[in-house]
């Protein structure tokens, strides 16, 4: 990253320095992804930031579905469930409803989370269940050996699309915003610092934090993210979002995004990149999600891809409200089981 645009450093939540190290989060299971798989990098950074944040291991639960990415929980020395295909958000909801003090992470793939599991993800986000959903997007089904996925590009030839895919892909970020998500971010497996900071931000959000990670499946879709990883082009293809800062990008920070009507356009900016008129200024916490949605529509190659936190707003988490209603009931009424049984016309036989 030295000779390129430095991704913005997002501040970790304040707190004591953590006594934990990355190793504390490494389980005793042998990691079994293909050599070179992007999953390794994500695993390492997750272990690292969790240690830094310092949430105790025992307070942390990783829940996944099925897919290469979904093996993730086995490698984390926390509580974990490797569940069934697409259903991780539902288990996570149950866990949080029972114990809202736990920090729950959902690990999913583009197939697990958007194909079979799309509906659960949608409802998890709209309810704003307090879980962090990390979607490993490699635009392919890895575990089942290379069929196309809901994020595969049109024309993509795979085992199940020998003449090229005719499915129009989902944009995970647009879906999340359309589903009322309160926290939506994007980052990349090998963009180490940015990945770390994004995970930190997700960890700090109370509510569903949805993070799309561009992840490299070296076996079945190795070129999917060349435009955001190849050092000769990536700076022209990524715009890093920073709260309150204009949307400026390019190797020499010489391009920016202006919004015309509702339509974004790329413009040249002043070499110092600072106070250019008309440049969009990033605001992640707008109540109205239209701006975040517009950002999500910036797609390669017409636009740089927004990296970072597109949206972060406060809304009470479903699971917290659930527990609140229960607590309110407990506090305001007398839970007398015997009285409950008698709460209907009764008669006595002597």
């Amino acid at each position: 990253m030295t000779d390129t645009v430095e991704p913005p450093v997002i501040k970790p939540p304040a707190g004591e320095p953590s006594p934990l190290t990355r190793k504390d989060f490494v389980s005793d299971q042998e990691v079994r992804w293909c050599p070179g798989c992007g999953d390794y990098a994500i695993l390492a950074q997750m272990q690292k930031i969790l240690a830094e944040i310092g949430v105790p291991r025992e307070q942390t639960v990783f829940v996944s579905g099925i897919g290469c990415s979904s093996r993730f929980p086995y490698y984390m020395d926390t509580y974990g469930i490797h569940s069934i295909h697409g259903r991780a958000p539902t288990l996570a909801t149950g866990i949080k409803a029972v114990n809202p003090d736990l920090t729950v992470w959902v690990i999913t793939g583009d197939g697990d989370g958007l194909s079979i599991g799309g509906n659960h993800l949608l409802h998890c986000m709209r309810r704003n269940v307090d879980v962090k959903v990390i979607l490993f997007n490699n635009r392919v089904y890895g575990l089942t050996k290379g069929q196309y996925s809901p994020t595969s590009l049109p024309g993509h030839r795979t085992k199940s699309t020998p003449m090229g895919s005719i499915d129009y892909p989902l944009n995970p970020i647009s879906v999340a915003i359309g589903a009322e998500a309160t926290f939506v971010a994007r980052t990349q497996d090998t963009n180490t610092k940015h990945l770390q900071e994004t995970l930190r931000r997700a960890a700090a959000h109370r509510g569903t934090a949805f993070v799309e990670i561009f992840q490299n499946c070296v076996v079945y879709n190795p070129t999917a993210w060349d435009h955001t990883t190849d050092s000769s082009v990536r700076d022209d293809n990524i715009v890093y979002l920073e709260e309150g800062k204009p949307l400026v990008f390019g190797r020499d920070s010489d391009k920016g995004i202006r919004v015309n009507g509702m339509i974004p356009e790329v413009i040249d900016v002043d070499s110092n990149g600072a106070a250019n008129e008309g440049l969009a200024v990033h605001q992640e916490s707008l109540d109205n999600s239209s701006y975040a949605y517009m950002l999500s529509r910036m797609q390669h190659p017409e636009f740089p891809l927004p990296f970072g936190v597109l949206r972060c707003v406060d809304r009470p988490a479903y699971t917290d409200m659930l527990v609140d209603q229960v607590q309110q009931s407990i506090d305001s009424s007398d839970a007398d089981l015997n009285a409950l049984l008698h709460s209907s016309d009764t008669w006595v036989v002597e």
Binding site: S27, Q29, P56, R57, E58, Q59, V61, F62, V63, I66, P73, Y74, M76, D77, T78, Y79, G80, I81, H82, S83, I84, R87, P89, T90, L91, A92, T93, G94, I95, K96, A97, V98, N99, D101, L102, N119, H120, L122, H123, L322, V323, Q325, V326, Q328, S329, I330, D334, A335, L337, N338, L340, L341, H342, S344, D345, T346, W347, V348, V349, E350
Partner: protein
């Protein structure tokens, strides 16, 4: 019935009445006519008075099908008795028909000589047409022959009674005609009106006009009975004189009993109750009932579908709650993949299947027992799971607790089967002494020393239930093949076979904890009837009837379908023949034949309706002659 009516023409089948020591009344009308409420009030009053009671409501699948049509009918049958009864009765002796469709649909069910009360005002051309009559059956002697028919202008008399209540529209007044009908019924059966009057006060507390209107209509109906000479006699079912266990009673439906049983189990286990479910007929009232009980730390989650529901319940169980889901046929199918995960994760949870008429969407509001094989075998791979079934509405309370107890003790998901009949019908329930219900022991390991996720209890083979949040016991579980003890993923052939056998053995050992089976009747003999689930009442009544006729018949009702009780084989071997009545095409029959050296005769019915006592009696007669 204690006092048979005097005249011949009104001769309610006294033989049957004496036999069952009871009267069966059916109310039938449009869904909007308030028949369920009417039936409920009539039943409550009788129950409080000291009759044994049993009810059977029958709803249409539509919310409100067009008024006046057969499809729109809503029925409520109640059986009142001076002694133990087991069902809502085979055939009504009294029918209250609010319109022509109600008459058309129910007359043929009536006992010969039965009493029919019709709302004469509703026999309009339009309504007659909707019910498929060319002309009024009231004018057709042959149609009504053999019944004691009372034509009561219910609507107009109600209106007349409420004439001066200016604040109410005619439409609102007409809604009170069920109160008039109820008042008449109260008179006919010599029942007091107090319970219902109090109910009106409470239910319509905010609308005094409505209280007034209903009160007036009720009393007018009663007065009508008293003043008119139309009725040849009143009928009186004496209060119970048989050996009724002393205590406080209430009426309860199966769904209500499941709700109370689950809450009780959670309290007995000292646990949060998590209930994740998706609405479906006839299971939704369990969700609705529990949603109102948050003060008992009940957390209900209406999921986006049944798959999410079972997923949430698995998560909740992992997190340490007593976790339950319920559904009916189509929804239960959707849960199978999740249940299999729970089986392999070896987590405690309860799945209630309120069986309804199938297959597919089938008959959503009707009853059936055809999910037995599906809950036993409807998952990929070898995946044994305990299955228990409630025999009566009130027993749903005990069986809900039993399900929770087994789930936790054996660290396993479990099915509790009820059905549409149990769910909605009601019977008296002797309120239990809560102190006498044993606590449900729960142990959450906290000691990291020597901990392994699949270390097993010697007696039950249950693995430890560890709560996330416990330091030093972090572990991962999932649905892949695994090694015992460590729980590590394993594709080793021996590990796989060992785990499959171990889980099977774990479930088999549930049988170590079962009480001996009860046989109702002779210890050995000509015929044994094996039943399960909601057919209990009909079987029991039929068997007692046959016994009273001197037949060598016994019955034995299974609450535990998997594993089967250990003493079942011996019991089966002591009778010359075995009959298995089921509301399916022979599912338990198949299981028994596969397992025991016995050929069984099935009595099978898939009509969306419970057995009638006489259907079983007649089958017994067939077999034994």
């Amino acid at each position: 019935m204690a006092e048979p009516p005097a005249s011949d023409s009104s001769a309610i089948n006294t033989e049957m009445a004496r036999l069952m020591d009871s009267v069966v009344v059916r109310f039938s009308g449009d869904s909007g006519d308030g028949m369920q409420l009417t039936g409920d009030q009539f039943t409550n009053t009788s129950a409080v008075l000291g009759n044994d009671i049993s009810t059977f409501p029958d709803f249409p699948a539509e919310i409100r099908a067009p008024a006046g049509t057969l499809a729109g009918l809503s029925g409520f049958q109640v059986n009142l008795a001076a002694s133990d009864i087991y069902t809502a009765g085979d055939a009504p002796q009294v029918l209250v028909a609010m319109n022509p469709a109600a008459l058309a649909a129910n007359l043929s069910d009536l006992e010969p000589g039965g009493v029919v009360i019709v709302n004469e005002d509703a026999f309009t051309r339009n309504n007659l047409r909707k019910a498929g009559f060319e002309s009024s059956p009231l004018d057709d002697e042959s149609y009504l022959q053999g019944y004691e028919v009372h034509r009561v202008p219910l609507t107009s008399m109600t209106r007349a009674a409420l004439d001066d209540l200016d604040e109410l529209s005619n439409q609102q007044k007409d809604l009170c005609k069920n109160a008039f009908a109820l008042g008449l019924a109260f008179w006919l059966f010599d029942r007091p009106m107090e319970t219902t009057l109090a109910f009106y006060q409470e239910k319509f507390a905010k609308r005094p006009q409505v209280v007034k209107a209903n009160t007036r209509a009720l009393k007018a109906g009663y007065a009508y009975g008293e003043t008119t000479e139309a009725f040849q006699s009143r009928m009186s079912v004496p209060t119970r004189t048989d050996d009724v266990p002393p205590g406080t009673y209430r009426r309860i439906t199966g769904n209500e009993a499941v709700v109370l049983g689950l809450v009780t189990a959670a309290q007995k286990a000292n646990k949060t109750l998590f209930y994740g479910s998706y609405p479906i007929t006839p299971a939704s009232p369990i969700l609705e009932g529990l949603a109102a009980l948050k003060r008992f730390d009940v957390r209900t989650f209406q999921a986006e579908d049944e798959i999410a529901a079972i997923g949430s319940v698995i998560g909740a169980s992992f997190a340490g709650a007593l976790s339950v889901t319920a559904s009916s046929g189509p929804g239960v199918s959707l849960k199978s993949e999740g249940i299999n995960l729970a089986i392999v994760m070896e987590l405690p949870l309860v799945v209630v299947d309120v069986q309804r008429g199938g297959p597919s969407t089938g008959l959503p509001t009707k009853t059936e027992q055809a999910d037995l094989l599906s809950v036993l075998y409807g998952r990929n791979g070898e995946s044994p799971i305990p299955v228990i079934a409630a025999a009566t509405a009130a027993e749903c309370f005990d069986m809900a607790i039993e399900a929770c107890r087994i789930a936790i003790r054996h660290m396993t998901p479990i099915f509790l089967l009820t059905d549409g009949y149990l769910a909605n019908s009601s019977e008296p329930w002797l309120l239990p002494d809560l102190e006498l219900i044993e606590p449900i022991e729960v142990e959450h390991r906290t000691d990291p020393n020597g901990y392994q996720p699949y270390l097993r209890d010697e007696a039950t083979l249950a693995r430890p239930w560890v709560l996330p949040g416990t330091p030093g016991l972090e572990h991962r579980v999932g649905g892949l093949g695994k090694q015992d003890v460590t729980g590590n993923v394993s594709y080793d052939p021996q590990d796989n076979e060992h785990m499959i056998k171990t889980r099977a053995e774990k479930v088999a050992r549930v049988a170590d904890y079962l009480p001996p089976l009860e046989v109702n009747g002779p210890d050995q003999g000509d015929l044994l009837i094996i039943g399960w689930g909601g057919t209990y009442g009909a079987i029991r009544a039929a068997v007692e009837h046959s016994q009273s006729e001197g037949r060598s018949v016994a019955s034995c009702h299974l609450r535990h379908l998997n594993p089967l009780p250990k003493d079942l084989g011996k019991i089966l071997s002591r009778y010359r023949q075995v009959l298995v009545p089921e509301l399916n095409m022979g599912q338990l029959s198949m299981l028994l034949q596969a397992r025991y050296p016995v050929r069984v005769v099935g009595l099978n019915k898939v009509q969306g309706q419970p057995f009638r006592i006489r259907e079983i009696v007649s089958k017994i007669n067939d077999i034994l002659t």
